[in-house]
Amino acid sequence: MAVNMAVNDDLDPVRRLRVMAAATPGCVVVERVIAAPFEEVWAVAADLEGELPRYQPSVKTLRVTPGQGDRLEVVALGRAGLCASFAAVLRPGWCWMQSRTSVFGLAAVPVEGGTLLGRAGATRRRGLRMLAAPLLRRAFAAELDRFESRVRQRAQ
């Protein structure tokens, strides 16, 4: 007797973020449960042009050009005047971007009491990784504070 076993499912986006972070040198992950439905949380995350400069203050403006499928090209202009081009993928619950010098990850999954949101990121400059990690952890925590405020404001 052969047992018929067909299972079709996949990792949730936050677990996926942990995998990507573990495989990316110097990558930092900060997670938080936001007391709001997934749709409201992801509406903020998915609105890169409108919302990202609000919760990441080092970014002044962001321009998004749609690519094939879930691919995007993103150009970020920083407050210091520096410009960075990112290759990006954006789909419900998952955003990952990579420029020559940094990576940016955002993932969300519905959980009891709201939505688990994960923020990951790293510098791709080898010499700066060790120095950057504790700074990134603090920066991401503050970023998630602002992100949470934006979710609340949009819900009002």
Binding site: M1, M5, V7, N8, D9, R15, A23
Partner: protein
Amino acid sequence: MVDPELLRAAQGGDTMAMNDVLDELSPYVFKICGAIAPQHGPDAAQETLIAVFRHLAGVREPAALRGWVRAIAVREAVRMAKRNPPGREAAGERAARDGGELSVEVRDVLARLSPEHRAVLVLRDLEGLDEEQAAAVLGLPRGTVKSRLHRARLGFRKAWQ
């Protein structure tokens, strides 16, 4: 199979390529881990993929990637299932929560088998490996796999009735 160029880019630290390789591998890993460790499939799949991506640079032959990933997934799922035996939660409830195409009844029956028996059933009946290949993945003699498979199928049939 993962595109060799994509794999090379991921091995070189291109995280967009890593994202694409993860797209290819994660449903496969999730399927194996979910069948062997019904209660801890997502945790086992996460740990498997972390191990895979941390050691991805060591993969020399793209054609061997799937087999290597499968071996890690089986080992990780068996380890996690043995470390966390089923608790008070009913198998049927777990099955409903874990989702997937596998029927609740089949998941319920599988959950009553040992992790080692689930592993051999997955390799033979889900993955379609022959006894020799399954023995290589499990690190066991072929005869042991044969007898374990016989007991696993017998156990499945008894639990099903």
